[in-house]
Subunit: 195 residues, 2 copies
């Protein structure tokens, strides 16, 4: 990795961490520059439009990571229901391992904190959720589940995953995520059996 | 209502609206004073410890409103499953009526944005979620559902409700909430039938 692209990655990684741990509004560009140990010019070079452009990049980078993890998990398990359960179990374990503070699912600062103030960030967050639903729905359809039921089930999976994550982080306890994981695996299995 | 208690209510209502629509961090005390049209001394009189104390009061006020609404809804319907469905339907309609921006469920700015930075606000948010689960679990137990299953179902209800709210507000579309409502009513009904 060249030094330049390394600076860009450092900026994005630092920004994503700060946006989550202290919020989008509370994070200033100077703090990102300082904590990423990059030259001041780098941030303005890579993100000439500033904080919103950088936030957009954080959303897309995090999304690419999550999508890849979805795909890898689904490929490792025979059924979508088992893949969903494992994906959420791993999320729960990562959240616990980070002490519930170092973990930064994009939705928390992006969808929630910024969707009321930035149409661009709201649209990006909407695309992310739609992408996750699409991946899950496609795998359910491959399992032989009808399209309408597959899309509805996928929406429930994403909603429950996000909600259980809120409660787990608030309670600093992974049980809500584990309960959701077990439950969703039954939901997906039931959808399959009803075909 | 006396003029003094009116000022206090105006401050809380304004603060809750601003915390949600622009975030906890981005909201300053001066803006709350200005937009609530209250004398500067009032905020410092009622909330001598400042923003965190005011946020705590916003959480508790919103929570009292939500708990009351839960109770009223459950009293109006014969089964808990129907009550849950109606509660979320009403939430969806309120979110839509507000254009998805004037609506401020407490979890968004309290549990999410502040739980990483304030132990006091995190604990308050945790109590709120626990209170909601307790109300739902109690009603399920009254319906004859076993305690363990009732508590697990209540946790799923609160998680899915919160998650569907995130997706609905991000998408500016009430469908995720409606899907969750229909689904949770089936979940609660199934729990009941399995006793």
């Amino acid at each position: 990795m060249s030094e330049k692209s390394n600076a860009r990655d450092l900026i994005i990684g630092t920004a994503a961490r700060l946006f989550f741990s202290q919020g989008y509004h509370a994070t200033g560009l100077n703090q990102i520059i300082k904590e990423s140990n990059t030259p001041k010019g780098s941030l303005y070079h890579y993100f000439p439009q500033g904080k919103e452009e950088l936030a957009l990049e954080c959303i897309q980078t995090t999304n690419a990571y999550v999508l890849q993890k979805f795909q890898e998990t689904f490929q490792s398990y025979e059924t979508t229901s088992e893949g969903i359960r494992q994906f959420i179990y791993e999320t729960a374990n990562e959240a616990e391992a980070s002490g519930y503070t170092g973990f930064y699912p994009f939705s928390f600062w992006a969808a929630v904190e910024t969707s009321c103030i930035s149409q661009q960030l709201r649209a990006a967050s909407q695309d992310v959720f739609a992408g996750w639903q699409e991946v899950i729905a496609c795998h359910l359809i491959q399992d032989g589940i009808g399209e309408e039921r597959a899309r509805e089930t996928a929406m429930l999976v994403v909603s429950l995953m996000e909600g259980a994550l809120i409660i787990s982080l608030t309670n600093q306890d992974k049980q809500p995520l584990l309960t959701a994981a077990d439950y969703l695996s039954v939901v997906a299995k039931n959808a399959e059996q009803k075909q």
